[in-house]
């Protein structure tokens, strides 16, 4: 999908005044935050489990080539095929070629973030293949022509009345006066609309939450059952998976599954966890005739070699989004790409390039909540700061900001000069401020002083005052607040 993260600032301004968005986001965080807290409290071993999961991921990333090879060999032994794609062009073309090879005209899709990353739907559509999203949230946003605003709850930016309107204009063959005012009615309507579509599709495309090297299996985790209908009823099953989803063994998957659902929705286990290992076997009464796994790099091997390596531990649980105050107030679309929230702030510049996502790593309150709830303890604030530093190094930040920062760093590394200058500045400012002791305008920070006054410094710099105070004052309690 096209990246519009360079418009981040403008996107935020639109988002913060959107009342529908505000209402919808409140409901999401209101539901998911307490759910996770409850699930974590219910498992005393949760922290040990996190450490175990992290150790598995670190080991796997260190041996990722070996495990991917083992996975490939087992998929082939199971009767499936593996395709390797270095970038998004290659991945899209490979999937299109597979569709042509199997004479595919219509495709049903399970929810998959990597196919969003590839902009696969638009591409297939342009080449005469009709993709139909079957996850309820994805179905809704496909009808609206939108991208997902959350990695596991793609339509979370919408309120019920908006979904009702979408269905009213899309399902014109239904009675105009049908009841549509509950979540139940809307869910049922989508169920009926999609029911016959799974079996009629020539191919089912799903993502993968994990891949298991030991058995050559891909895993999807869902609550709705649409992903399983998609992959069981279509003639061909194509799995699209980014390469860091690989895990060595089934037991490793068990550890990750325990972390995933609890961190995501607060469930102990999602409703459906399915291992797919090849096409239908001899004698089987159902299942696809062909099984393909398209493994996508698209920037991951670069991350593996770089400073964003830790981000490859991400299991896409969405806990960091659900607990982020910035995400909660601006929603997912403002981030300009398919990944949003704290994980998106690191992933988008890492995968799409820093140039495309200049403001993203900067837009953080650095409150640290994301790292705290991340089951993989990914140091998201640190990674954002790294990306910021890279921006400055690569001269991507505005000139004014760079000059100011380099001046400050030159000063900060020369304490004597720093003290001299700040002392001089403080005294000068104090004198310039006059009797009111405030500035109603300042060069460089005009925007700031437009609506407030800047209080002039008094009584010298911190160091001046510190030195004055190092002679203990008899009877004083050494509390600066008493001054």
């Amino acid at each position: 999908m096209e990246v519009s993260s360079e418009n981040f600032k403008a996107n935020v301004e639109t988002a913060v005044v959107d009342d529908n968005l505000k209402g919808a986001m409140g409901k999401l965080t209101g539901a998911l935050r307490p759910n996770r807290a409850k699930a974590v409290a219910g498992l005393p071993e949760f922290d040990a489990l996190r450490d175990h999961g992290i150790a598995i991921k670190m080991h796997t990333l260190d041996h990722i080539d070996t495990y991917l090879e083992q996975f490939e060999a087992n998929v082939v032994a199971n009767g499936g095929h593996v395709h390797w794609c270095a970038d998004e062009d290659s991945a899209r073309q490979t999937i299109l070629d597979l569709c042509r090879q199997h004479d595919v005209k219509t495709v049903t899709k399970g929810k998959s973030m990597v196919t969003e990353e590839l902009g696969l739907n638009a591409f297939l559509d342009n080449h005469g293949i009709l993709p139909l999203e079957t996850d309820l949230g994805e179905y809704i946003i496909q009808l609206r022509g939108e991208s997902p605003s959350h990695i596991i709850a793609p339509a979370t930016h919408l309120q019920q009345h908006q979904i009702k309107e979408t269905f009213q204009s899309a399902h014109t063959h239904l009675d105009a006066d049908r009841p549509m005012d509950t979540a139940e009615a809307l869910t049922e309507e989508a169920r009926q609309e999609l029911r016959e579509k799974y079996g009629a599709a020539d191919a089912g495309i799903t993502g993968a939450n994990f891949m298991i090297a030991e058995t050559g299996s891909t895993i999807i985790v869902t609550n709705e059952g649409n992903g399983d209908l998609t992959q069981t009823l279509a003639k061909t099953h194509i799995v699209v998976a980014s390469m860091e989803k690989i895990l060595p063994t089934m037991d490793d998957a068990g550890v990750m599954l325990r972390l995933l659902a609890r961190s995501a929705t607060g469930q102990e286990m999602s409703v459906y966890t399915t291992l797919s290992s090849g096409p239908r076997r001899q004698g089987d009464l159902d299942g696809p005739d062909a099984f393909h796994v398209v493994i996508v790099d698209n920037g991951r091997s670069k991350m593996l070699a770089g400073s964003e390596r830790e981000m490859l531990r991400c299991i896409r649980c969405s806990a960091c989004l659900n607990h982020c105050p910035v995400y909660a107030s601006i929603g997912g679309h403002a981030y300009g790409w398919v990944y949003s929230g704290p994980m998106g702030k690191v992933l988008t510049p890492s995968l799409a390039g820093l140039e495309q996502a200049k403001d993203l790593p900067n837009a953080s309150s650095f409150c640290g909540k994301c790292e705290e709830v991340c089951p993989m303890r990914i140091p998201l604030p640190k990674l954002m700061r790294n990306l910021r530093e890279q921006q400055t190094e690569q001269k991507m930040t505005p000139l004014k900001q760079r000059v100011a920062l380099s001046l400050w760093s030159a000063l900060a590394s020369r304490p004597w000069l720093y003290r001299k200058l700040t002392g001089l500045m403080t005294r000068t400012l104090a004198r310039l401020a006059g009797k009111r002791r405030v500035f109603s305008w300042m060069p460089m920070i005009g925007e700031w002083t437009k609506s407030r006054d800047l209080v002039a410094p008094e009584g010298g710099s911190f160091f001046d005052r510190y030195h004055a105070r190092t002679q203990p004052i008899k009877g004083a309690d050494h509390d600066d607040r008493t001054q």
């Binding site: 080991h59 049922e188 004698g283 089987d284 299942g287």
Partner: protein
């Protein structure tokens, strides 16, 4: 040939990224959390409680031979159609004596309202059943009918997922890996409309688990 083949390029990059790195060891397996009951009656009770918490309903029977009679009563009691699709592995039970119901062994279609299948394992920790694909137990039974009935032997319940993996590994020594392994925890649901939970999204609206004391009729070679 499909697309470009980027295999060599990708592996060269992966290997280069690993060069000179100290490699982390594998942390080994793990035991199921202590919070789950791990043995005997307590484990079965734990399974039942967890399954019910996930909106499944549960019946306990002594023998597999009791399943046809139960189905006959249950379908009538729930006001469900008397025709249903049945996993072929259960067609050996004496269905003929239940004259009011008509099981159809095979895979499920969208015309089927009720499906009945047999689980291969279960995890008490989360109230999850493990289904495997194959001609004995077609996968469509788990997803297509509105009402899913799963028969499970209490002897096939493990404390956590680890026990399920063990069972799968044992199965794999005699058979190829099943095409699909489905872990099912309650009926299908969604929260995509304003984070409100609704049961019956695309998969089954209801899940009924029939727990049987006896050993399950899985053939020895499986």
């Amino acid at each position: 040939m499909t697309g470009r083949n980027d295999r060599a390029e990708i592996f060269a990059r992966l290997k280069a990224a690993q060069d000179g790195r100290l490699k982390a060891p594998h942390p080994g397996g793990m035991t199921p959390p202590k919070s789950a009951a791990t043995k005997g009656k307590a484990m079965v009770t734990h399974f039942i409680n967890k399954a019910i918490a996930q909106y499944a309903t549960v019946t306990e029977l002594d023998r597999f031979a009791d399943v046809p009679g139960f189905m006959s009563d249950w379908l009538r009691g729930q006001n469900l159609p008397k025709e249903f699709v049945l996993a072929p592995i259960l067609s050996g039970l004496d269905w003929a004596k239940e004259t009011t119901i008509t099981p159809r062994p095979g895979a499920a279609t969208t015309a089927d309202t009720v499906g009945v299948s047999l689980a291969y394992g279960a995890a008490a920790e989360t109230g999850t059943v493990m289904m495997i694909s194959g001609h004995h137990t077609p996968t469509t039974l788990n997803f297509v009918p509105d009402v899913e009935v799963i028969v499970l032997s209490k002897k096939d319940i493990s404390a956590g997922m680890e026990g399920c993996w063990e069972k799968l590994r044992a199965y794999k020594t005699q058979n190829p890996m099943p095409r699909a392994v489905n872990f099912v925890t309650g009926p299908s649901r969604t929260a995509d409309v304003e984070a409100t939970m609704v049961l019956g999204a695309h998969g089954p609206r209801r899940l009924h688990i029939v727990l049987v004391d006896e050993t399950s009729p899985w053939p020895k070679s499986t």
